[in-house]
């Protein structure tokens, strides 16, 4: 069974609510309080007075603005990979594109010119035909 000294020590440290004392000692503390009410109750009463005084000193809850700031920072810190990878991928693609364009440019010039020329050439031929028909 719990002794008077231990009961007093727990009361001094944890206050008047035995159910908030360390779990391992609650049962013994309740048993002591029932068996020795003349010793236990004055100790609990004295502790209760302080508990009530302390209840007026509770901290106000955090603001919603603080919560929002912290969440925004969390998202910023934990998701830097996406923009970084996107930027890196864009840079790689740009480099590859520029390189490929530079290497392929002389080769591509001819077909492009051909297409350009043939397009206008065909138009010119049609014009020529129509001119011939008119004639």
């Amino acid at each position: 069974m719990m002794g008077q000294d231990r009961f007093g020590a727990l009361c001094d440290a944890y206050g008047s609510d035995i159910d908030r004392w360390p779990e391992a000692e609650r049962q013994a503390a309740h048993a002591f309080a029932e068996a020795k009410p003349l010793i236990a109750q004055p100790r609990l009463e004295a502790a209760r007075a302080l508990d009530e005084a302390l209840s007026s000193a509770v901290i106000e809850p955090a603001s919603e603005a603080l919560y929002q700031r912290i969440v925004a920072e969390g998202i910023r810190v934990r998701t830097p990979q996406r923009p970084t990878w996107a930027a890196a991928a864009a840079a790689v693609m740009l480099t590859l594109g520029l390189g490929a364009g530079w290497v392929a440019a002389p080769v591509a010039e001819t077909p492009a010119d051909d297409v350009y020329a043939s397009a206008f050439g065909a138009f010119d031929s049609a014009d020529a035909l129509s001119l011939e028909e008119d004639v």
């Binding site: 020590a9 908030r20 009530e52 005084a53 302390l54 000193a57 901290i59 969440v71 920072e73 934990r78």
Partner: protein, 210 residues
């Protein structure tokens, strides 16, 4: 069909809780917005209370809270659910930041050889300056030595167990009990034995619970 039960219910609950902590931490580390919001919603109350109790200035306390979470976001990959509950881990970070801030402030004020504030009663001038009853109680709590104030905040105001408080403070369970007893002894002396009127007024305000 037989079901194998691997341990007592409390052990299973603890195991489930740690699995939940591990999953949440993993989701946060992957940058999942819902997980980041959930962790903040869950841990901000304890972080804010610790910071506010330890740092008198409210905007500085908010800075500490934000700084705590920046460390959390950066270190979440290293969180080990087998060693501590998520809230305990986060609260420990907040506690260390507060104690560090207070230590640096004292060093800046008194020089590097300044010892941690002695375990003395709240200053009478602080109590007088506080005016009303609730403000006087807050001033008396504020005047406690740092670790006593933290132990009181965790166990008396936040209902943390002595084991959780010990983990957050980085001390033994016996040390937590000693810190609490010393804090309450000081407060009892200052607020009750020397200010009987105060407790009468507060008892009336709280409905005079017997």
């Amino acid at each position: 069909m037989l079901r194998v039960i691997s341990g007592p219910p409390s052990d299973r609950r603890q195991s489930d809780a740690r699995a939940g902590d591990r999953a949440l931490a993993l989701s946060v580390s992957r940058g999942e917005r819902a997980a980041i919001a959930a962790l903040t919603r869950r841990c901000l109350p304890v972080v804010h209370s610790i910071a506010r109790r330890m740092i008198k200035d409210s905007s500085e306390a908010e800075d500490i809270a934000q700084e705590t979470f920046v460390k959390v976001w950066r270190a979440i990959d290293r969180y080990d659910a087998d060693r501590a509950r998520l809230e305990t881990w986060v609260a420990r970070i907040a506690t260390n930041l507060c104690l560090d801030r207070l230590r640096k402030r004292r060093e800046a004020t008194l020089g590097e050889d300044a010892p941690e504030r002695a375990d003395t009663a709240p200053r009478a001038d602080a109590l007088l300056a506080a005016g009303g009853s609730a403000a006087r109680v807050r001033a008396a709590v504020q005047a406690l030595p740092d670790r006593q104030r933290l132990a009181l905040e965790l166990c008396s105001f936040q209902d943390r167990t002595n084991i959780e408080a010990a983990e957050i403070l980085g001390v033994s369970v016996e040390a937590v009990e000693s810190l609490l007893a010393r804090a309450r002894r000081t407060l009892r002396k200052e607020l009750l034995e020397e200010s009987r009127d105060l407790i009468d007024g507060l008892s009336g305000a709280h409905g005079g619970e017997g």
